[in-house]
Symmetry: C2
Subunit: 348 residues, 2 copies
DNA sequence: TTTTAACACGCAAACGTTTTCGTGACTTTC
DNA sequence: GAAAGTCACGAAAACGTTTGCGTGTTAAAA
């Protein structure tokens, strides 16, 4: 077992200086043809590769981007990562991941761990706890140190940085319009509490679609779940509440849910109550997940193009990393990704 | 915007040497109490953090581990990552990911990219293409350079390194025994072609369970799918073949599938043919996925404990990284993770 | 033959750390 | 009052690169 070979070792072996070796490998015209030939042959033989860490230190550039997300076992986020990795790799960058697990402190720790030289910039989506606490000092400190940040999906306007978001408002609106045009008269909304901007916007889309179609929104048809609970408990509670909703309003003939699990639960409860989807009740969910495609009936969804979000975020970040930082006149962009209604069996 | 502060800047500011600053921050007893106090106060004020890259270079240690997987948008792999990240973080390591996308060349490129100093060791699962080509030179070269590798799930015995695998044989065997004890007499197996060791072992488990229960395996009840096809095409073909199988053997009353999609497809086809799951036909799938839990009927599965695999792999790797490399008498371990039968509605 | 130019290479600094060793200024000891 | 010891700090090397500049040797020009 031999360690990786360095310039120094090649230099010693060939009895030239380190700089000569370095230049020879770059075909510098300062170096004679036979020295170049000799060095390159030797380097190839020993499979020389420059040490990334040394390069990073010298260039003050790591060619690595950090991505911090609340959870990885989640289709939306893993698709985003795939997108990030795709363009990062194409543009010569590595990707290092940190999971906040929806915790504020883990988010802070992870960011500090990476911000000390390990990466050139961040792509991140805020944890729920951070959204609740509204404490953004770690983002601002990071950016003050000259490290660019691109946020995606879960963003807040208080933070000045590049962002990639889904068009939640219109995605929701289109979905509800679809239900309306499919003759639904009483459309329920199943959503989360409003502290996540994403949920708020989807609710607004729902309301606007109703109003534009002269349907008066009814507060009783809106179910707001507290999603900070434990997952299992949450699911049971969810089903119970949906059942209650359906029983209290037998005329509900359409459901728009802000995520996959809510939509699936609605279908499950409906079936249990002897209702047929889509004949008695039509359901649309806002999601990119796998469940929709394989459920029975398969679920009509508002697709978020998660992978595309990742790609756009990575491009945005790398662009920023690679452009000269010009004065204080920095411009921040917000890229909006359009949603797409994927029609399946849960709607007519 | 100020850049991150360095020892040199603190030294200049306080009019002491760099070494004094460094020592003062470490409470060295070489340094007087007031100098220590002064330096630490200043460092705190400016939020000094040592530069990771410089440390990595100096210590020849990055405290980062690389993980290379075929695909990230996949429950099994993302759960493994979560496990890896969990213990890596706990032990002071970062995780950098590379996706091979099931391609041999991408696997090689990714490994080379990371092997040049960026990380201290690899955790990886082989791409299908690598398994097919049986070209393992990149693993061996990496290990020859003193970089440890831990493989998980998809492994081959030709490569000498630490491994974490699922007990595929017994997992499959237990599942089939469950079907047998549930009175199934004609159990079909839906699997992939044999080049992945994992599939081969599961098939063996299936066979052994039958034989131990005096049931003669019938080759016609074994469906081997070619999973190198395009996903969509694959799925259609899969359903067609399952339907054909069911029609040709009306007495099939149990199905064991080596993955989630195969199991779900089997249930789907069964339902389409008017068969009731689990009354007419019982199904068990080998998987950790989400679909099983939310399908109707929910699917009984052989759970692989993916997160635990990730945790064990990370521990194994970090242990190896942190122990002195003692001579040529290196020992490699293979950790076997036991499976667990999670009973749901698709079995009686 | 002397001056100039081209060539081929080495030196050294820099990136930000850590750590060994050396040293000047005091203090203690005899 | 001289020798020895303690204290507090700085210089320098090392990790592995890249690159501007200096320099000795040779060849071409005057």
């Amino acid at each position: 077992m031999r360690r990786k070979i360095t310039l120094k070792q090649i230099a010693r072996e060939l009895d030239v200086s380190i700089s000569t070796v370095s230049k020879a490998l770059k075909n510098s015209k300062e170096i004679s043809a036979d020295t170049i030939q000799k060095v390159q042959a030797f380097a190839k033989l020993y499979n020389y590769r420059p040490n990334n860490i040394a390069l990073s230190l010298k260039n003050r550039k790591t060619n690595t981007i950090g991505i911090i997300i609340p959870e990885i076992v989640h289709h939306f986020f893993s698709k985003v990562i795939r997108g990030v990795e795709l363009v990062a790799n194409k543009r010569g960058y590595n990707v290092i991941i940190g999971l906040s697990n929806e915790s504020f402190s883990k988010e802070v720790i992870n960011m500090e761990m990476l911000a000390n030289g390990s990466i050139d910039g961040f792509i991140l989506s805020m944890s729920k706890e951070t959204l609740l606490q509204q404490d953004y000092h770690h983002y601002n400190e990071t950016m003050n140190q000259g490290m660019p940040i691109v946020m995606f999906d879960r963003v807040v306007s208080d933070i000045k940085c590049d962002k990639v978001i889904v068009d939640d408002f219109n995605g929701a609106k289109n979905a509800v319009e679809k239900l309306i045009s499919n003759q639904c008269k009483h459309i329920a909304l199943i959503t989360t509490k409003d502290y996540v901007s994403v949920g708020r916007l989807r609710t607004q889309g729902y309301l606007e679609a109703l109003e534009e179609n002269k349907i008066t929104p009814q507060a009783e048809l809106i179910l707001k779940m507290d999603d900070t609970l434990d997952y299992e408990v949450h699911l049971e509670k969810l089903e119970a509440e949906i059942e209650q909703l359906f029983k209290a309003h037998k005329n509900i003939d359409g459901v728009f849910a802000v995520n996959e699990l809510y939509a699936l639960s609605a279908m499950k409860v409906a079936r249990r109550m002897g209702l047929n989807v889509p004949n008695d009740i039509q359901v649309i969910g806002f999601t990119d997940g796998v469940l929709s495609k394989h459920s029975t009936p398969s679920l009509t969804t508002v697709s978020q193009h998660a992978q595309l979000m990742g790609e756009r975020a990575a491009d945005l970040l790398i662009d920023k990393i690679e452009t000269e930082f010009n004065a204080e006149e920095e411009q921040f962009q917000t890229v909006v990704i359009n949603t797409e209604l994927v029609e399946r069996e849960s709607t007519k």
